[in-house]
């Protein structure tokens, strides 16, 4: 119980830190969003009057005349009410609508790709680590090449080979544009077909990390006394691998799952850009290039809170599968 409270407390603090970071960043950095927008406007030949300025300031919610602390309170209050402001690039859609429209794409893509990559990596890692020193083991450094490949470059190469040269997969978008989004077989099939290449990129780029982590833990576990005991008892190798070594070696990978999710989200922002995938990463970048600050902050907040939530779930699960963490 104490452990649970500590965990919840930590995530409350992390959540508050993320919210505050989101509030502080635009106010701390040199560029003023209103100025940048007005500069853009006057570049196009518009006459900027004090009224335009005031209108923009209100639109962006950054009324600089009120004291910082009350701005902060308004900001927190708006978030609690689920009001993240209005998007400029999708005007007049509220930021929350834009996010909820693009969220399922990213959640399904990244979620599935991460689960597949971790499952594959852990499985392979268990077998490679089980027999250290064989030819399989000497392939491990080769997987580091895959781990060191930038996500976005890998997607460029895959698009070039599988899409341009071989023509097997579409290179852009999340579904066939002639179809209307909906829960019918044709549309889902098209979404799977379009999502295959981005998902493949994420799996190929991240499977090496899982493999290596699991392999190293297996090697460490194999020198534990209980594995030696199991061997001495003459248990079949398969049992020792599954019930003694792999079961204990997989624990850090489970704990690492949540943290790796943050990296996968980061990597996928760039991958989504390459594929023009209609997910949340493309929205973030579109918001940056269009100076859509409300959308930018909203997406950042959403990604952060999603990663925090996933971490919390994995942390709680971890206490169930490894009772030692509770004992502390």
């Amino acid at each position: 119980m104490n452990y649970l409270l500590r965990k919840l407390g930590f995530y409350a603090v992390a959540c508050w830190a993320a919210l505050t970071l989101n509030f502080v960043i635009p106010r701390l950095l040199p560029g003023d969003p209103v100025d940048i927008l007005l500069a853009k406007l006057s570049q196009r030949g518009a006459v900027v009057t004090p009224e335009t300025r005031a209108a923009y300031a209100t639109l962006l919610g950054g009324d600089t005349n009120t004291p910082l602390l009350s701005q902060y309170w308004t900001y927190l209050g708006n978030i609690v009410r689920g009001d993240l402001g209005t998007s400029i690039s999708y005007f007049p859609a509220p930021v929350t609508d834009v996010i909820s429209a693009s969220m399922p794409w990213t959640v399904v893509l990244i979620g599935l790709a991460t689960v597949i990559a971790s499952f594959l990596g852990v499985l392979l890692g268990a077998f490679v680590g089980w027999r250290p020193g064989t030819w399989l083991d000497s392939m491990v450094p080769a997987t580091t090449l895959l781990a060191a490949v930038p996500y976005f470059w890998l997607s460029l190469v895959l698009v070039y080979v599988l899409s341009r040269v071989l023509g097997w997969f579409p290179s852009q978008g999340g579904y066939d544009v002639v179809l209307d989004p909906g829960w019918n077989l044709q549309f889902i099939g098209s979404a799977v077909y379009y999502g295959f290449l981005p998902a493949l990129t994420i799996v190929v780029a991240s499977v090496g990390g899982w493999l290596l982590g699991m392999r190293n833990m297996m090697v460490s576990t194999l020198s534990e006394d209980y594995v030696l005991t199991a061997r001495a008892k003459g248990l079949p190798g398969r049992w020792i691998l599954r019930d003694y070594a792999a079961r204990n070696a997989v624990l850090p990978s489970v704990a690492g799952f949540a943290i790796s999710l943050a990296f996968v989200v980061s990597g996928s922002v760039v991958t989504e850009q390459v594929f023009s995938y209609p997910g949340i990463g493309s929205r973030l970048l579109a918001a940056v290039t269009n100076n859509d600050y409300a959308l930018m902050q909203g997406v950042f907040l959403f990604i952060t809170l999603a990663v925090l939530g996933a971490n919390l779930v994995v942390d709680l699960l971890y206490t169930v599968i490894d009772p030692r963490t509770r004992a502390r």
């Binding site: 890998l154 943290i259 973030l284 600050y293 902050q297």
Partner: protein, 295 residues
């Protein structure tokens, strides 16, 4: 004992990293102007131009040399900054213990769970392009990447902190910085080295991603900006593989080289991994005897 044993993989790693560093240091002096425009756009590689030209007829090989230098610069700069940050929060906090340790590790854990690249993108989005210099990007990348290694360093420091000679040094009234630098730090050198190598890989990759999105330091030339121009110049639909393939491959090779070096450092940090090499030798010997007996 602190020097890694020479293995084939370490040799390959050192050769890769040394080769790429040499290319980044010497290459720009030997190649022509990377921005010079020719009237042969998108020429495939041939004898004269090793890696062909970009859409506007710029020499890809010359660009690659300059970009490698840029990427290495920012990689090592950010790697150093992030290592200093993680050493401060990881080692100093664990040394002090008590409330300071709690606070430092809370901060570390918070930074660990906040996704780095989206944060960097948002920060870069708010900084106007003119004031987005090399140092801005370096500081932002370092700020978002120190946490994981701080956690590792903290765990290591906690195990060193309570050894007798450290306690003796503390009790004899040595100042904190002296105890840390003279008594604790030498024990952590392999971990620090390993974390530095990781930080450099992360920095090169992070900067490449940021520049690829067009959010890197203004006026900089790195492997990421090369990929940005390749993507925006339609290198992919036009089939100009010689334009987008080499920069990414170079990043991957640099990362691989550094990781291979890291494997060898890991064997010092985690001696259990060293038994792998023993296993391998034993397996080979067993195979040899088996073959002999078969004959």
């Amino acid at each position: 004992m602190l020097v890694p044993t020479m293995t084939p993989w370490l040799a390959v790693g050192l050769a890769l990293v040394a080769g790429i560093c040499l290319f980044g240091l010497v290459g720009p002096l030997l190649v022509g102007d990377p921005d010079g425009i020719r009237d042969v756009g998108l020429a495939p590689p041939d004898g004269g131009l090793w890696l062909g030209t970009t859409q506007t007829g710029q020499d890809v090989f010359a660009q690659l040399a300059h970009a490698t230098r840029g990427s290495l610069q920012i990689g090592f700069l950010v790697g150093a900054l992030a290592t200093v940050l993680s050493a401060f929060f990881g080692i100093y906090g664990a040394y002090l213990g008590g409330a300071a340790d709690e606070l430092f590790s809370l901060l570390t854990n918070v930074f660990l769970v906040i996704p780095g690249l989206p944060l960097v993108i948002v920060i870069s989005g708010f900084v106007p392009r003119e004031s987005r210099g090399l140092w801005t990007i370096a500081v932002v990348l370092a700020l978002t990447s120190w946490a994981a290694s701080a956690r590792v360093l903290r765990a290591q420091t906690l195990s060193v902190r309570n050894r007798e000679y450290v306690a003796a040094s503390r009790l004899s009234g040595e100042r904190a910085w002296r105890v840390i630098v003279v008594e604790i730090l030498p024990n952590l050198l392999p971990v620090l080295a390993s974390q530095f190598v990781f930080a450099v890989i992360a920095a090169v990759l992070g900067e490449a991603g940021l520049s690829f999105l067009g959010l890197g330091a203004s006026g900089s030339s790195t492997l990421g900006t090369m990929l940005f121009y390749a993507q925006n110049g339609f290198a992919l639909p036009l089939g100009a593989w010689w334009w987008f393939a080499p920069p990414g491959l170079l990043i991957a090779l640099l990362g691989t080289g550094l990781s291979l070096i890291n494997f060898s450092i890991d064997e010092i940090v985690n001696p259990k991994l060293k038994t792998v090499r023993m296993h391998r030798r034993r397996a080979r010997a067993a195979a040899r005897t088996a073959r002999k007996e078969a004959r």
